[in-house]
Amino acid sequence: MSLDKNDFLHLCRLSRLAPDPAVQEEMAQQCSSILAYMDKLAEVDTTGVEPLYSPVIHECAFRDDTAVRRCDRADILAGAPATDGAFFIVPRIVEGK
C-alpha cells in the first residue's frame, strides 16, 4: 500500500495532526513502508475465524452505575490549560456575538 500526498493529508486531518511540511514526505514514506509490510497478513487464511479484539477470558466485571466523587473539581481544573474556575474554556465555536 502506498500513500500519496492527498491520502497522507487526509489521514493527518482525520488524526488532527499537521506535521511540518519538511517531514511530511518522509513520514508518508515511512507509513507506506509499514503498511506495505502489513499486507503480509493477506497470506493467512482467516476464513471463518472470529476476530479477537480483547484477550479477556472472563466476563467483564460490571458494577452498579453509581456516581462516586473521586476527585474535587478544583483538582481536576488545576491541570487544565484554561478555565473560568468552574468549567474548561475553549475558543469560541459558534461565530457571531
Binding site: 488524526s15 506535521p19 513520514m27 507509513c31 502489513m38 475465524v49 484477550p55 466485571a61 484554561a82
Partner: protein
C-alpha cells in the same frame, strides 16, 4: 558484606521488619546511589528526594508493631512515568503532558503506597510507551547501566536501568508489546508481564488498552513475586480487571525444590529465527540445559503464526492508540497551543506540538487502518490473526507447562543505531509481541551474557499461572547465578 543498595527487595523488607535496617537508611542508600549513577544513565524524569527521606523518617517514628498488612514497609521503589501518581509529574515522557500533576493515584500506585513502599521518583520511558529503546522520550535518553553507550531497551527502559543500577529495589513498568520483558532482558533484571486482567489498568495512561498490563521489574524473581502480590487483584474501576483470586505467589514459587514434573516447550519458530544472535542463542541453550539438570523435561513446540505477529500487533495497537490518544486535545489537561485560530486549530496545533514523531506515526497508521474502506483489510484481519496466534499458544501449552524463549533477538545495541527506521525497530519485538496478542503471562529472567551484555529468556505460561513461572524462574536464576545481579557501576 553487601552495600545496602545491593540487597534484594525481600532482604531489605526483612531487614527493616527485623529492626536491622531503618526505612531512612534504605532510602538514603538509594538516594545516594541515584546521585552517583543518574548523571550516567538518566533513568528518572522526576524525583522527590527530600519528601521521600522525610516520609521514611516519619515511617520509622510511627512504625506499627504489626507489619503483616504492610508487605513493602519502608522499601524504596520507582514507577514508570506512565502511571498516574498523585501530586507528582505524570507525563508519559511526552511534551503534551509537560507540567501535568496527576490529581489521583493509579490503582497500582495506591497499592504500593498502602503496602508501605516509598516512591522515590518516576522513570523515563519511550513517549506513551511507544518504542523499544527509551530513545523516544521527549525529555532525555536513558543509558544501559551495563554499557552507557547502549540502549536499555524500552519502553520501560528507565525502570530497568534504575533497577539494574540499584537506584531502587523495584520499579513498576508496563508491557504492551514487550515493554517490561525486553528492557529487563537488556539490563539483566527480572520483569513480569502478568496475564491480561491480572493487574488493574486504572491510572495507567492508555496506549493500547487490549494489550497494556502493569508489572514489576526487580533483581530477583522472589522480589517480582512479592510486588505482584501487592498490585494484583480485582479493581472495580477497570472493567477488564479479572475477578480470579490471586494465589500466594511465594508459596507457589517455593512449592518444590527443583523443576521435576515440569515440561518446558521450546518454540521452533523462535529458536530457528534468522535474526537470533548466536550469543543470545547460546545463553538460551545453556538455560535449557540447566532446566534439564534441575529435573525439567524439555520438548519442542510450534507457534506457527509467529511471523505474522508484528503485522497483527502493529495494526491493532496503532488502531487502539489512535483512539486512546484522541483525548489529548488541549481542553482538559496537557499542552494547548498559543493563540489558536479556532477550536479545530487548537486541537490540531496542540497535538502536533505535543506529540513526538513516533507517536504521530502510530496515530496516523491507526487512523488509516480504522478508516472506511480499509477496516476489514487491516483491523479486522489483524484481529482474526490475533485469534490464530492465541490458539497457537493454547495448543502449545497443552503439551508443556510453559514456553521458554529468547526475549530480544540481540543484546543491548548502540544508541542511535536503529532510530531512523521504524520498521526495523518493530522487527526487534518479534519474540515479545505475540504474548500480548494472546493475553498470557511472561516472566523475563537473566540467564547469562553475550560479550559482557546481559541476556534474558522469557518463560510464558497459562492464563493466571504466574506462580509456576515464578517457581521455574527462581530455580533457574539461582542455578545460573543471575539471582540478584546488578550492573557493575
Amino acid at each position: 558484606m553487601s552495600e545496602i543498595f545491593e540487597l534484594s527487595l525481600c532482604e531489605t523488607r526483612d531487614a527493616i521488619k527485623e529492626g536491622k535496617l531503618s526505612a531512612e537508611e534504605a532510602t538514603a542508600a538509594c538516594l545516594s546511589r541515584i546521585n552517583e549513577t543518574e548523571p550516567k544513565i538518566n533513568a528518572l524524569l522526576a524525583r522527590r528526594d527530600e519528601e521521600a527521606l522525610e516520609q521514611a523518617r516519619a515511617m520509622d517514628r510511627e512504625r506499627p508493631a504489626d507489619l503483616s498488612d504492610k508487605p513493602l514497609w519502608g522499601v524504596p521503589v520507582t514507577v514508570k512515568d506512565v502511571l498516574a501518581t498523585k501530586g507528582m509529574p505524570t507525563t508519559a515522557a511526552s511534551k503534551i503532558l509537560e507540567g501535568f500533576l496527576s490529581p489521583y493515584d493509579a490503582l497500582v500506585v495506591e497499592r504500593l503506597k498502602k503496602a508501605g513502599a516509598i516512591i522515590l521518583g518516576k522513570n523515563n520511558m519511550d513517549e506513551f510507551a511507544m518504542g523499544s529503546t527509551t530513545e523516544h522520550s521527549a525529555y532525555k535518553v536513558t543509558a544501559n547501566p551495563w554499557d552507557v553507550t547502549r540502549v536499555p531497551g524500552g519502553s520501560s527502559g528507565g525502570s530497568a536501568a534504575s533497577v539494574a543500577a540499584c537506584q531502587c529495589f523495584a520499579s513498576l513498568g508496563s508491557d504492551t508489546g514487550g515493554s517490561i520483558r525486553q528492557p529487563a532482558s537488556l539490563c539483566g533484571c527480572v520483569g513480569i508481564k502478568p496475564t491480561y486482567g491480572r493487574v488493574s489498568r486504572y491510572g495507567l495512561l492508555a496506549y493500547a488498552s487490549s494489550f497494556d498490563q502493569v508489572g514489576p521489574l526487580t533483581r530477583t524473581v522472589e522480589d517480582a513475586a512479592a510486588v505482584l502480590q501487592v498490585i494484583a487483584g480485582h479493581d472495580e474501576r477497570d472493567s477488564t480487571s479479572s475477578p480470579v483470586d490471586v494465589p500466594d505467589y511465594h508459596a507457589a514459587m517455593t512449592a518444590q525444590a527443583d523443576l521435576s514434573g515440569l515440561t518446558l516447550g521450546m518454540p521452533r519458530e523462535f529458536f530457528g529465527h534468522e535474526g537470533l544472535d548466536k550469543g543470545v542463542a547460546d545463553a538460551c541453550k545453556n538455560a535449557v540445559e540447566t532446566a534439564k539438570s534441575l529435573g525439567a523435561k524439555v520438548v519442542e513446540v510450534s507457534l506457527p503464526h509467529t511471523e505474522y505477529s508484528i503485522a497483527s500487533y502493529y495494526i491493532l495497537a496503532a488502531a487502539e492508540a489512535s483512539s486512546n490518544l484522541a483525548r489529548y486535545d488541549g481542553v482538559r489537561y496537557g499542552h494547548r497551543t498559543a493563540e489558536p485560530r479556532n477550536l479545530e486549530d487548537m486541537y490540531t496545533s496542540s497535538r502536533t506540538e505535543g506529540f513526538g514523531p513516533e507517536v504521530q506515526r502510530r496515530i496516523l497508521l491507526g487512523s488509516y487502518v480504522l478508516s472506511a474502506g480499509y477496516y476489514d483489510a487491516y483491523y479486522r484481519k489483524a484481529a482474526q490473526v490475533r485469534r490464530l496466534i492465541r490458539q497457537d499458544y493454547l495448543d502449545a501449552l497443552k503439551t508443556c507447562d510453559m514456553i521458554l524463549a529468547p526475549v530480544s533477538p540481540v543484546p543491548a545495541w548502540q544508541m542511535g543505531h536503529m532510530s531512523d527506521d521504524p520498521l526495523q525497530m518493530y522487527f526487534m519485538d518479534i519474540f515479545t509481541l505475540s504474548l500480548n496478542l494472546a493475553g498470557l503471562p511472561g516472566l523475563s529472567i537473566p540467564v547469562g551474557s553475550s560479550n559482557g551484555l546481559p541476556v534474558g529468556i522469557q518463560l510464558m505460561g497459562r492464563a493466571f499461572d504466574e506462580g509456576t513461572l515464578f517457581l521455574a524462574g527462581d530455580k533457574l536464576t539461582r542455578a545460573l547465578c543471575t539471582h540478584n545481579q546488578h550492573a557493575p557501576m
